[in-house]
């Protein structure tokens, strides 16, 4: 696993505007960074990332199975009791999912370690499935990268295929896509997934999360008063459960992507449960609920809120002392403790691998770099290749 410098393509900004990639620069800082790329061997990809990704995902599903129907655990996951039955129904029906991203720390050798699971609202899917694919195609054509080079990225193929499959059980049904207002990145993500669904022959319609309405009888509607029967939402379940329309979830005819049972996976309480069910698994880090006596055995650890986004409210403890604290609005639902395992460093950069799954199958990776140990929303996205 190497970090290789490469000249930027001279036309990429213009290409970005042609293809509607409008969030390559955020808050005036670069987000898409093609001044370098990561290079893997096929063995690293297949044995150290692809296979473990599938295995980790299966272990995560085993945790869902354990938590569903277990009041004590559901309470530890901070899921409001009024949703327990609906989550159990969703899991029992095997409500289909679309995609997930798990975050891994890996430096080219040894087992990759699971940081967390973004199973509910993963982003950077456009950059991964399409944009870095295009980057490789351009550079292979211009000779900057060998024509034999490959990429671990079948994400777009798999998403279209998955939508094809989902369409079979939603014959001739409109699929709504939703995200919040004023969120350029989320809008781009949702538009991309919508494009994939259209390619699979599905009729799609967009609605903002804030514009969703309800009828007298409790059905959800879009802005045109059309009943929403099937919807992809890029908005966290843990938010929705505490909002005004939350009590209607699972009580009306709306089918959700991601399904309700994913609220168990996108929850940091997943990490201590994984360690309990699969202790000493090579791809897991020791993790406990806050207050567990075993935390005292950890010299260095990271404290993460049960719910948080983009690194907010995470603190790093070395020798029991807090050495780094990221501020943020989260944490009132409690914390978990995970053994400290720093991200690998390439030059000045700390590198995190996002490993994607579509319908339980590994589908590619994304590379994020941050100048800080804790990857946040200011981190940059870099492309990668597989060199044979």
């Amino acid at each position: 696993m190497l970090r290789m410098p490469i000249p930027e393509r001279s036309h990429w900004r213009q290409q970005a505007s042609e293809y509607g990639f409008n969030f390559h620069t955020m808050y005036g800082e670069p987000y898409w960074d093609e001044s370098a790329y990561y290079q893997f061997t096929l063995k690293q990809i297949e044995e150290d990332i692809e296979d473990p990704t599938e295995e980790i995902h299966q272990m995560c599903l085993a945790v869902v199975d354990r938590v569903v129907g277990n009041d004590e655990l559901l309470r530890k996951f901070q899921i409001p009791p009024s949703y327990w039955q609906s989550i159990s129904d969703s899991w029992g029906r095997k409500d289909p999912s679309l995609y997930s991203r798990i975050d891994l720390a890996y430096d080219g050798q040894g087992p990759a370690k699971l940081y967390e699971n973004n199973a509910d609202t993963p982003t950077s899917v456009y950059e991964t499935g399409f944009w870095q694919w295009l980057w490789l195609a351009d550079n292979a054509r211009s000779g900057h990268i060998s024509r034999n080079a490959d990429q671990f990225n079948s994400l777009q193929d798999k998403l279209v295929e998955r939508f094809h499959f989902l369409a079979q059980t939603h014959f001739n049904e409109t699929l709504h896509f939703a995200c919040c207002k004023d969120t350029e990145e989320d809008f781009g993500t949702v538009e991309y997934l919508k494009d994939c669904a259209v390619q699979a022959g599905i009729t799609c319609k967009f609605v903002y999360i804030e514009d969703i309405g309800r009828t007298q009888s409790g059905e959800f509607t879009d802005k045109d008063d059309v009943i929403v029967t099937w919807i992809f939402k890029l908005y966290p379940w843990e938010f929705m459960m505490h909002e005004e329309f939350g009590p209607l979830i699972g009580k009306n005819e709306t089918c959700w992507l991601e399904p309700l049972w994913k609220s168990i996976l996108s929850n940091k309480a997943l990490l201590p449960l994984l360690w309990e069910l699969f202790p000493n698994h090579p791809n897991l880090l020791p993790a406990y609920f806050e207050g567990d006596a075993r935390v005292n055995d950890l010299k260095d650890y990271v404290k993460k809120p049960i719910f948080s986004r983009e690194g907010a409210n995470i603190s790093v403890f070395r020798n029991g002392k807090c050495t780094r604290e990221v501020p943020g609005p989260y944490g009132k639902e409690g914390y978990i403790i995970q053994a400290y395992h720093p991200l690998p460093q390439f030059g000045d950069n700390y590198t995190l691998i996002g490993s994607w799954l579509v319908n339980d199958k590994p589908a590619g990776i994304s590379m994020r770099e941050d100048k800080s140990l804790v990857t946040q929303d200011m981190s940059r996205y870099l492309p990668h290749i597989i060199q044979y």
Partner: protein, 225 residues
């Protein structure tokens, strides 16, 4: 190969994506129909003609069409199809269900009768809003891969309605005089239509995002992770 085999770049282009836009327009015909036809629910009669125009202007998207029978009642269907009594009954019941779901809805009986005529409206079974009574049902087969499909048909007895005396589908499509016992149907007519209803309130989702973003200032990145 570990990457997507090929990606059709034309379908991914946004700025001058003529092809893509066309595709979208075609796919969204039903929705446009609904959007337009729905405006009439808020009781502006003039927009009804908009709905009709919108429907016809989209007609270019599909050239498939077939002659489909319209029956006024189960008896009417049985008379035309001896020995098919059960099929006629099932078709009627399915069309009734479809009518419940897709017929235009009105807040008051008066608004509904204004459009469809005196005593031609009823209450929706669950939501309590008003909708026109089904005046007949259309049966089509060829355009739906050989499967039979059933569409409710309505008609207006209100002289000032543009639908007066004609067959009209749930999406606002005008099929011509109700004295005809068959109409020209397009494949889109038998596609599943979205359910139209009345929205009681909006804004029940998104408040947590608003609260969290007021903490971090304005943000463009969003709530994914």
């Amino acid at each position: 190969m570990k990457r997507s085999k090929s990606i059709n770049l034309e379908t991914m282009r946004k700025s001058d994506a003529l092809c893509d836009t066309n595709l979208d327009t075609c796919r969204n015909v039903e929705n446009h129909d609904k959007v337009e036809s729905h405006k009439k629910v808020s009781a502006t009669r003039s927009s009804l003609s908009v709905a009709v125009v919108a429907t016809f202007s989209m007609a270019g998207c599909s050239s498939d069409s077939e002659e489909a029978a319209v029956y006024r009642s189960v008896e009417d269907c049985k008379d035309s199809n001896p020995g098919q009594a059960e099929a006629c009954q099932i078709a009627y019941e399915n069309a009734e269900k479809e009518a419940e779901r897709t017929a235009p809805k009105y807040n008051s009986q008066r608004d509904c009768e204004d459009e469809f005529g005196y005593d031609r409206c009823r209450r929706h079974s669950s939501s309590g809003v008003f909708m026109p009574m089904m005046a007949g049902y259309m049966i089509g087969s060829m355009l739906n891969g050989g499967r039979y499909s059933y569409n409710p048909m309505f008609t207006s007895y209100s002289r000032h309605s543009p639908y007066y005396g004609n067959w009209v589908g749930a999406g606002g499509r005008d099929y011509g005089s109700r004295y005809n016992s068959s109409v020209r149907a397009r494949s889109g007519d038998f596609q599943k239509k979205p359910t139209v209803t009345k929205t009681m309130s909006r804004g029940g989702f998104g408040s947590r995002a608003a609260a969290a973003s007021s903490w971090s200032g304005s943000r463009s990145s969003g709530w994914g992770g």
